[in-house]
């Protein structure tokens, strides 16, 4: 379990975090959404014990010597060592098992090849992320913090990482906290979301609830979508084969039904979030 209450942190005159409280239970994946500079990384550093909060309470519950593991920003590994050596080194320094079998098991867990012996500086970002997670998982922590894990990854890499995270939760009931500014990805992984803006948590709740509350339009794509004459009744913006339609969740279902009746094929339907609503929910 990860829990913090009323955490404050200032760097000089700059307020990094103000009255931040979050909670993430066992087996839960909590997404922390915020723009760049919102305070996500600072919060993670406090939770990981790298930085001391000015005030507030932090609690990481778990068994074993290592309660929490994580990655801050990009995974930081020794570039002149290969994957095996990095894992062995980090395992050894904390007294964890560092035998060849244990290292190979860690690599397999994150989907890294066992036969790669070149130094980590040659790895792609996706491989580095995986190795970073393998290091974070050393010594079997009960909590995992991933700060911007999807940034710099290609679509395949993002999918692979998402699957890894889901597998970890299912297999080990690990508590996972992920931060990102890419809401689309987080929404498919996280059970709950906390939105952070200017160092403050502005809203927390189930992912579906939060996203529904901030969705005021949808982007529908289809090659013949412009032929749907009934769409002129709605507030729309056309963009090639796609059309952004201002509609609620209920209305969009009707729209899709009518389009299917007119045999107009839809290739995608994506909610368009009102970011203003997301980050300033009080200003409606």
């Amino acid at each position: 379990m990860i829990y913090c209450e009323r955490v404050h942190k200032k760097y000089g005159k700059v307020r990094a975090l103000h009255n931040v409280s979050i909670s993430c239970g066992k087996g839960e994946i909590l997404g922390l959404v915020g723009a760049n500079g919102a305070g996500k990384t600072t919060l993670f550093k406090i939770l990981l014990g790298l930085v001391t909060a000015d005030s507030g309470e932090v609690e990481i519950a778990g068994d074993g010597a290592k309660k929490i593991g994580g990655i801050i920003e990009k995974p930081a590994l020794y570039p002149y060592l290969n994957a095996h050596e990095n894992l062995r080194l980090f395992a050894k320094m904390q007294g964890a098992n560092s035998s060849k079998q244990d290292v190979e098991a860690s690599l397999e867990q994150v989907g890294l090849p066992l036969n790669r012996t070149d130094p980590v500086r040659n790895f792609s970002m996706g491989m580095k992320q995986r190795l970073g997670i393998a290091v974070a998982l050393l010594n079997n922590p009960s909590c995992l913090l991933l700060d911007e894990p999807f940034s710099g990854l290609d679509p395949l890499g993002i999918e692979a990482l998402k699957q890894l995270i889901l597998d970890l939760t299912q297999q080990t009931q690990m508590t996972i906290l992920i931060s990102s500014h890419i809401i689309d990805v987080l929404s498919t992984v996280c059970t709950n979301l906390s939105i952070i803006h200017n160092g403050e948590i502005v809203q927390t709740g189930a992912t579906s609830t939060i996203l529904a509350a901030c969705t005021t339009s949808y982007s529908l794509c289809g090659s013949d979508i412009k032929k749907a004459s009934f769409l002129s009744d709605y507030d729309t913006v056309s963009n090639g084969d796609c059309m952004t339609i201002s509609a609620s969740a209920t209305e969009i279902s009707d729209i899709i039904f009518k389009l299917s009746q007119q045999q107009i094929a839809i290739t995608s339907c994506r909610p368009v979030l009102d970011l203003q609503q997301l980050f300033n929910p009080k200003e409606k």
């Binding site: 930085v51 920003e73 050596e85």
Partner: protein, 275 residues
């Protein structure tokens, strides 16, 4: 012990460590050559007006004199290179953010840095031993044995056996100064974090210490105990009568300076946030 092993492992897995060792050997070779060519001239000048009164039998330009020249030239480039390597043990971890990864594991901060201090000290001692060993082997191998002549307020001659032990002791006790500079550079790395800033500060510290060595502080106590005055303790081995009391006191003081510098570094590191 685990952390000591890890620090040693990291140090010797990085190519820059080997570049530094090679650089030191290259410099040693240059010093050896210049000592050889310069040594003949210097001996001629030193003994110039003794030649009016004496004949000389035997050669003074021998392995002992070459080692003595190497020893004299030791006290700037060796600590400078040591400081660069040692400070890099921490600054590269800040730069590459591996320090964050380390402290996301259950590792105690001050123990981690203490391991770096210990490995840095051992590495410095290792370097000095390596350089001393090669100096002795090359110098004796190429230039042979013989009496050592030094100038310390007069000409002092040491027979080969005596000279050998004095040179060995000079290297051993002089190593303490080098360890001090290494420890200082690591403490500077704790304060400054960035590589270039730390190198500049370390070089400045070394230069100022070397300059202050010759300054009279006007107070006998300070002249005895100021750390920059202790850096030439090795020279006492080339007085005719070795002042063991002074050497031991200076060495103990230097040991204390090393400890205090380490404690300052450990305290600051423990207090500071990472990242």
């Amino acid at each position: 012990m685990r952390l000591l092993y890890i620090e040693t492992y990291k140090l010797f897995r990085q190519s820059r460590t080997y570049y530094a060792i090679l650089a030191l050997f290259f410099i040693e070779a240059i010093v050896l050559l210049s000592a050889y060519y310069q040594g003949t001239g210097i001996i001629d000048i030193v003994l110039a007006n003794l030649k009016d009164t004496f004949y000389f039998q035997g050669k003074l330009l021998n392995g002992n004199l070459i080692i003595y020249f190497i020893l004299n030239s030791f006290w700037f480039h060796v600590p400078l290179l040591c400081m660069i390597i040692v400070s890099g043990m921490l600054t590269t971890e800040y730069q590459e953010k591996t320090l964050q990864t380390v402290f996301m594991q259950p590792v105690v901060k001050w123990k981690y840095l203490l391991a770096k201090y210990i490995v840095a000290s051992l590495f410095t001692i290792f370097l000095v031993l390596l350089l001393a060993l090669t100096s002795f082997i090359l110098s004796y191998g190429i230039f042979g044995k013989g009496d050592l002549v030094v100038y310390t307020n007069g000409l002092t001659f040491f027979e080969h056996d005596d000279a050998f032990y004095r040179l060995v002791y000079a290297f051993l006790f002089g190593t303490l100064s080098l360890v001090f500079f290494s420890v200082v550079s690591l403490t500077l790395a704790v304060l400054l974090k960035e590589s270039f800033k730390t190198w500049i500060a370390a070089a400045l510290f070394l230069i100022v210490s070397t300059l202050l060595l010759k300054i009279d502080l006007g107070n006998e106590v300070w002249n005895q105990i100021a750390f920059f005055k202790l850096n030439n303790t090795w020279q006492y081995f080339f007085n005719h009568d070795i002042e063991w009391n002074t050497i031991i006191i200076n060495s103990v003081l230097m040991g204390l300076y090393i400890l205090v510098t380490m404690l300052v570094g450990l305290f600051l590191f423990q207090k500071k946030d990472i990242g």
